[in-house]
Structures are given as C-alpha cells and as structure tokens.
C-alpha cells in the first residue's frame, strides 16, 4: 500500500523567473529520484491566474504545496536544500525499497 501512495504537488510561480525555474528543476529532480511514477507536479503561474493565489494562501514565490497526502505542507523558496525539502514533504529518501 505504501508504495502506491501518490504524491500531488503544486508549485506556484510568477512568470519564468530564475527562482521559479530553479525550484521546478529541483522538485522535479527530487521526485524523479524518490517518487518515480508516483507523483504529479502542477505548476500554477499567478501572473496568468492571480485569482488562484488566495486559495492556498500564497504570499511568497515560489511556493510548493503538498496537496496529497494530507495534511497539506507548504515550502517556500527555490527548494535548493534537498534534505530540507524531503523532510518538509515527509518523503523518505530511497534507494531502500524495503518497508520500515
């Protein structure tokens, strides 16, 4: 069951800024390495859809939200600290595929 847990992430950006591009690159890499095939990342550009900022209470950009699994987690910044991001999202690093 654990292995079938899907991860739904949402990344809020405001245009193609270096910080946003870096954040997307970072989170994609972490997911590929640790959650291969079990994740989705939705990128929301607030310059295009500003009305969506209120829903997830976005103040800082970039902001990464873990929608699933609940509870919702929020990480702001360019996500450059891998360990902090994984801990923040509560993702146990692989490669050990063994159940705890």
């Amino acid at each position: 069951m654990e292995d079938e847990q899907r991860w739904e992430l949402r990344l809020y950006v405001a245009g193609q800024t270096p910080k946003s591009i870096l954040a997307l690159k970072n989170i994609t890499r972490y997911c590929e390495e640790n959650l291969e095939g079990r994740y989705s990342i939705e990128v929301i550009d607030l310059l295009k859809t500003p009305q969506l900022a209120a829903g997830d209470q976005i103040v800082a950009i970039p902001t990464l939200i873990r929608k699933v699994p609940v509870p919702i987690r929020k990480i702001i910044g360019d996500l450059s600290d891998e360990e902090k991001v994984l801990v923040g999202l509560n993702i146990r690093p692989l490669p050990s595929k063994n159940k705890p």
Binding site: K19, V59, A60, I61, I75, I76, V85
Partner: protein
Amino acid sequence: MHQTSSIPKVSTGIDGLDEVTGGGFPKGRPILICGSAGCGKTLFGIQFLVKGILENDEPGVFVSFEESAADLTNNVASLGFDLDRLIAEEKLRIDHIPIERSEIEETGEYDLEGLFIRLNYAIDAIGAKRVVLDTLESLFAGMQNEGLLRAEIRRLFRWLKEKGVTAVITGERGDKTLTRQGLEEYVSDCVILLDFRVVDQIATRRLRIVKYRGSTHGTNEYPFLIDEHGISVIPITSLKLDYKSPSEVISTGLPPLDALFKKGGYYEGGSTLITGTAGTAKTILAGYFALGSCLRNEPVLLFSFEEAPDQTIRNMLTIGIDLRPYIESKLLLIHASRPTLHGLEMHLLVVNKLLTEFRPRAVIVDPISSLVSVGSPLEVKAMLVRLIDTLKIHKINALFTCLMSRTGSATDDGTIEAVSSLADNWLYLQNELIDGKRKRSLLIVKSRGMEHYNDSVSFTISPAGISFAASSTLTSSNTANGR
C-alpha cells in the same frame, strides 16, 4: 486652519483628523499608523476605507494578516459599518492572509510576489483607491529571512506609490522604536502614533502626528474617542483667539438678577462662572439660566456631574422651575455622568460631540470643580481653557458652577483662578449664619464690558424661587464698570 496644500490630500474618514492634518492623508502615498495592541489601529483602517467608500466614492481593499473577514465584519457591525453590503456592492474587498510560521518551511531564495499579485488583483478588481495592510509586521512572525522581508517591504511601499493608492499600513509599537520592525524607516510621508494610556484608572486615547512630509500639521497630542460612531479626533488645542465679541445681551434667566446688570443680562456668547461653597444655590442659578435659554427657544445642554437628570428636574420643581416641558420638547438635554467615568480629554470629546449633534445655544457644566478629581490641576486648567475656547468659537452661552471648600480661598487649587480669568462674568454666592439666621448673598465679582451692581445683594429661596432684597437695583451710586 492650515491651508498649505502643496500636496494633494484625501479625507481620512476620521472626524477631526482632516483638520489636524491640514486636509487629510497624502493622496496616493503610504501612511503608517502605529500603536500598541488595542489602541484602535484596525478600526482606524476600517473606518478609513468605509468612509472613503461612503463619502468619497473611493473603493478600498483591506488586507488582514490577523483577523478573518468574518471577525472584522462582526467587530465593526456595532459601529454601523456594514462590510458585507460594501463587499456585495464591490466597493470593498477583504483579503485575509493568515501567516503561521509552523506551517511554512523555507529553503532557498524567494520573494513576496504572491502578496503583490494578490494585492494587485484585489485593487484592480474593484478599482480601489485605498488600501489597508493590517498589520504588515505579521509577516515577520511567519517568515525567517528578515533581510529578504525588509527588502520586499521596501519594494511593496514603492509599488503601492506607483499604483497610486493611498495606503494605510499598521504596525505594532516597539520598545524603542515606533514599530517593532522599524517600518517607520520605509514610510517617510506620514506617520501617526496612537496611544492608549491608563492613568489613575482612567483610560485615555491619544493620537500624535509624528511625521508628515510636505505638509504642516498639528504637533500636539490629540485625544481621540472610540464610540458607537467609530473614531473621532477633536483638534482642540489648535484654537486661536480670533472669535468676535457679540454685543447682544441675553437674560440670566432670573429677572431680578438681570436688573443688576446695566444692559439687563449677560453678553451673548459669553461665559459665566458661579462660585460658592456647598448649598449656596449655584445649581439653582444654573437652572434659571437653562430656563431662560429655553424661553428664548434656544437649545440648552446641561452637563451634570453630581445629579441624575430626574433629580435635577425634581429639585428645580421645588423652587418653581419646571424644566419637564423642555426636556420633552428636546430643547433641554441633560447629560449626567460621573466625572471619574472618563479621563478629562474624554469629557471634552463628549462635550464636543454633543455640540455637533445637539447644537445647543447654551451649555451648563455643573460643577466644573468635579473634574478636578479626574486630573491634575494643570490638566484640568488646560481642559477648561479648551472648553471655554470651543464654546466661545461657537458663540455658545456658557455657565459653569464651581464648588469652593468652606475654608479655602477662591484660589486654593488654581482651578477657579484659571477659569475666573477666562470667564466674562463671575458671580460669587455666599450662605452665612448671622445671629442664627441664614443669610444668602450674591456678589457680581466681575462682568466684562458691562456696568453692574457693585455690592453684595441678599436673596432668599422659597418655593416660588429666588427673590432679591427689594432695594437691590442698579443705580449710578453703586455700580462698577466692567473692563
């Protein structure tokens, strides 16, 4: 007052503050309102927006980092502010942005573009001209990168200016700085400090304009009041001695007393002080004064610090003064309160508010000596000076009674001295026992600009009222010339 409008201004929506600021807030600029918790910052912001919508047709956005929209709406409903309706009419938007550190992880670089986008979206959606950020400093509680936050806040203020909105930003009072996070460094245009003090168990709210670039402004501390109509500030210390002296004369309300004045009464718009020890008929003379005004069909406002309205009316009835019809016809308003209920400034504000609402032609304060219990002699004196000035400017006939202690001289605490020098007329009442008989007397100590009876006049009080000794009329032999 000040008319130096080199910069365009917008109404603050706070009664009295436009006068103090020489026309209002700087249009299209950020204004910082700082003060400790509970000093009225949030209400200040709400009122700025609501009045802006209702009176200036300027839509507004309220960004709340603390209270939710529902809480805000409920809290101000009692002031008659219907936020739900304004929101429905698309004149107002409330954006609640809760910030909690525990929910947010930080890693790497970020900016506050999300806040900018939300603000921009809200402003554009309703064409807002006014914005309130309450309180921006909450961001510091939610995010760790202080240097980044400061840079972003600086950018935010610049952005607000470019956007052309008049923005009120609130900040919590710091220990040594105006705001905890030193926001005053970023707002250079207009900074206002709200203060909430409790001295001798009496709460007083005060407002001071710390900075207002490009504009003259009052530099005093102005008392402000939060009541059922919101916040109001009264610019009382900005009065000047430029009122005119009327030459019309009004009755004292008591014909035999009128006869002691050359012109048959007091000058209109003047102030009269009645001093005497306990039981010398000060309040009775005040009652006649009220009656006289009612008979002229002029509204009277009576501040009673010692008696309840019913008691005043009943006592007056026993000497033949029936004030009841005038209470009913709303010509007479009796405002009774304990002096210690408010601070001095609050009393003055209440007076000012009633002056605006009731528009009396005569005001009676019975007795002003009660106010001494609420403040130091210096403060009481300052307050009375302001009060008398205010009444003079409105050309209101004023009458103050003042209780003197039986042993003390008329100048024992400085209060009477202060008022007597400001008052135009001064009546001194006595009640002595001579050979076992009560002897009441009245002396006109002074009456500015009017000839008056020079000697002490004895009088009696009966159910028919006050009667003077038959001989006491104004003759040339016993008059004194007023200055």
